[in-house]
Symmetry: C2
Subunit: 396 residues, 2 copies
């Protein structure tokens, strides 16, 4: 194999695929990145795969001789990222045949303006292929729609690997909408997006979607975080092609492909957790509430992270307070539009802050019934989002 | 005590003194910051002290009632740093006398535009005073001169607490110059500065220094890093007042005071380590050599950090190379002006890189004798700096 490419192309693509390289590989070959050069297409592709998440990217190169090799991902990435800008000559044809008689001794040579680096790799044969989707559902999803859905759900997934199904985002594909949901058992976030972005001003109207049957899947948060990163690099008008087989999903965007296993099992029926009616409602400026929580969280940190919300209906004020015995106390007061009677209720400040950070609107509505029943936060205007928080018990 | 001050003043000064708060205090009171308000001067001062390093800063405030209190540094700093901009009312006069009858229960109340925070502190009586310098040497040192000296020496101090004396910078005060030296046993850095900054263009000429006797001291690197930070906040023309007692040193800059114990023991006689004559000399572009070392260090990292320098006198090239068996190899070549015969010599790449980062000039000179004798690096022009590196043995 022999090709010439730009340092920036090789560097950018290597750092992208490197994110699918497992930190503790179950098989040595998985610590590698698969590099292959295609003479006909004049392009080079890189692949990394941890058996769950796989990423493949392709970029242009002047390919003289095609071939494949597996190279240690970290070392290769570390070297390439430091090479000077400009052209790199990649060559893995053994020159010292005397020394490298064994088949496994694949050596890649990188030559740049200032020097020459050799990296010992291994045969590409051992590297597992990325799964292909044979005949499942497929659809196109606009990058903006996907980003919106992920932003509104990813933060609420569970980090606890024993709760497998909760480590993913559950996506429901309806004919006209997508629903993204995540819960870790303490809070729930549901975001509903139109399946096409709204046409802005002069822009071309989106092509009408074909009638589509309902389907759903649970996708690991880790894969979706990489997808988010990938999508952020894509253009504004672009779409991502999604295809789904039982147990496997693939996303494709211009020169990139991401595959992931899907999570098995029944996703909780979260719809039934969301109350339909509320006795109380508060409208408050999101940033002001968030700042107040950030301040008071310093003291809440000393007391199980619990913050008391005192809803003062008469004064139209929302008061926050923490009493941490032996350390200190804090209180904050905000103007709020309150309907319903006054009430004291308490929350885990971390969940409340994360929720507010992800709601995105200027004002938020907090809808609630009693001090022990679930509370719903929604943005005022914008995307349709529902965050559900469980209150915690107030100990006096 | 009762005063009003700006959140930004309290915040900035708190974060500055907090750096002298020990992470594992030997006595509980040392985890506090001492706050005291002076009614006559209309100013507030903050002090932190870990029994070796002490920092005291002063800022303006509207002081209504004076007093002192010791407050838990981390919590207090965390709260103040998040308070909204604007005025803060500080008050430690107990209101609920019923609750706080015991003497030790000092409670500080901070009131800002949005809320109110209480922090439990302790009596200021237990807080140790910062050492005062009675009658030792003293001198003024221009901030620029100090910064130059520290930049040229601090990096080479030892981090090994068992080598006490080497964890500091040794400063020699000559009548017309200052000499800053540091060594960790593997490398040595010596920087000599004029005792006054050179007058630039139209600026006023520096006032002639009074005849001064020679003295020297070894100052802990930790205190000097804080001094560097403090000096960086000072104005360009300002000077720092230094005063020295046996075992104790103090630096004063407008509203800040830093004290530190000095390190006891005989500092190595480093002058005798620096060779007087050299058989070979290389002049090379500093940044190019540094970049090449940064690249090749990735492979050196796999092989004890050793990089071979091949000095090619005929070709007027400096070649760098690493052979890491089973992993790969790398080589770089740079143009250089070389006098003397060709030679192969090896260095620890980390020390070579750190040295080059701190030399600061566009070109550097590498002066050497044999592959096993100490090598000297100096900048071409600028401040007088001498870096000495010990070569390491090359194993083929």
């Amino acid at each position: 194999m022999k090709f010439v490419c730009k340092q920036s192309d090789l560097g950018t693509n290597l750092s992208l695929v490197s994110r699918a390289v497992p930190s503790r590989p179950t098989h040595p070959v998985l610590a590698n990145v698969l590099l292959s050069a295609d003479e006909e297409k004049q392009e080079v592709s890189l692949t990394a795969f941890d058996l769950s998440l796989g990423i493949k990217t392709t970029f242009e190169a002047q390919v003289e001789t095609e071939g494949t090799i597996a190279l240690p991902a970290k070392l290769f990435n570390d070297i390439v990222s430091r090479l000077p800008e400009g052209e790199i000559l990649f060559d893995d044809e053994a020159k010292d045949t005397a020394e490298t008689s064994s088949e496994s001794a694949a050596i890649a040579t990188l030559t740049c303006a200032t020097g020459r680096y050799q990296v010992r790799g291994m045969s590409a044969d051992e590297f597992p292929s990325l799964p292909t989707i044979q005949e499942g559902q497929s659809l196109e999803i606009a990058i903006d729609v996907l980003m919106e859905g992920l932003r509104g759900s990813l933060f609420a997934t569970s980090g606890d690997e024993t709760k497998q199904i909760l480590t993913g985002v559950h996506v429901k594909v309806h004919p006209e909408t997508f629903e993204f949901a995540a819960t870790d058992g303490h809070r729930l976030a549901v975001t509903e997006t139109a399946s096409h972005p709204e046409a802005e001003g002069e822009e071309e109207a989106p092509k009408p979607s074909e009638p589509r049957e309902f389907f759903e899947m649970t996708i690991p948060a880790r894969a979706l975080r990489e997808l988010e990163r990938m999508a952020a690099m894509g253009g504004k008008g672009e779409a991502i092609a999604l295809s789904l087989d039982p147990g496997q999903i693939a996303f494709e965007l211009s020169n990139q492909r991401l595959t992931s296993r899907t999570l098995e099992g029944q996703y909780p029926n979260y719809g039934q957790l969301i109350p339909r009616s509320f006795e109380r409602q508060i409208t408050v400026e999101r940033r002001k509430l968030l700042s107040a929580l950030e301040r008071i969280s310093i003291l809440a940190d000393k007391k199980n992270n619990i913050v008391k919300f005192s809803i003062d209906s008469e004064g139209q004020k929302l008061r926050l307070s923490v009493e941490a015995a032996d350390v200190g106390s804090g209180e904050e007061a905000l103007d709020a539009q309150i309907s319903g009677e006054s009430l004291d209720i308490a929350f885990n400040v971390k969940y409340a802050m994360e929720s507010l950070k992800n709601l995105g609107s200027q004002e938020v509505q907090v809808k609630l019934n009693t001090a022990t029943s679930p509370v719903v936060l929604t943005p005022l205007g914008g995307t349709k989002m529902t965050h559900l928080l469980m209150p915690v018990q107030l100990r006096s």
